[in-house]
Amino acid sequence: AQSVAQPEDQVNVAEGNPLTVKCTYSVSGNPYLFWYVQYPNRGLQFLLKYITGDNLVKGSYGFEAEFNKSQTSFHLKKPSALVSDSALYFCAVRRIYSSASKIIFGSGTRLSIRP
């Protein structure tokens, strides 16, 4: 079954330091991977996606993600964290089945940036 796993419930980083939020995937065939962010009391917002091509994908708010096929990972990264990056981050995969497809979300990682 196609799914994603986020091994860390929480990540704490000091402002200005680089951050990484981890995601591993399990898919058959080519993976279609996404990252979304959720701020308090808000819906999810799309950050970036990997479909094919360059393994380093750039997205909104200075975030990027690195697709690693050998390690089946799609980690979210940012070179210098901001306090405003504090939020809940979800990795997701497009699951394909007989008649359509749907997006399956991971359990989420809470990112906390301290001043």
Partner: protein
């Protein structure tokens, strides 16, 4: 461009009562999704519509949940009767079509508390 609209934002009911949530997707978006997000978990897909047809409702508890999208535009999700475990945020999302590469656009959600 207007985003995905949802109402009400908050609802408190007692168990065994009924509740309905409304969603208006982004204009022109053919695919509409209802997700349930329980506190501390990632969103779980309840039902997916393509225009006014159901694509996937495999995780919808059909004994108490129902959803419709009669004219292929806005949608209503109903719970009757509600249980304590239905306390969650109900997220509506839309996309241009059921595309492998397309991202979802989410509303701000409807938070349900069942007492």
């Amino acid at each position: 461009e207007a985003g995905v609209a949802q109402s009400p934002r908050y609802k408190i009911i007692e168990k065994r009562q009924s509740v309905a949530f409304w969603c208006n997707p982004i204009s022109g978006h053919a695919t509409l999704y209802w997700y349930q997000q329980i506190l501390g978990q990632g969103p779980k897909l309840l039902i997916q519509f393509q225009n006014n047809g159901v694509v996937d409702d495999s995780q919808l508890p059909k004994d108490r949940f129902s959803a419709e999208r009669l004219k292929g535009v806005d949608s209503t999700l109903k719970i009757q009767p509600a249980k304590l475990e239905d306390s969650a945020v109900y997220l509506c999302a839309s996309s241009e079509r059921d595309s492998l590469t397309g991202e979802l656009f989410f509303g701000e959600g409807s938070r349900l508390t069942v007492l």
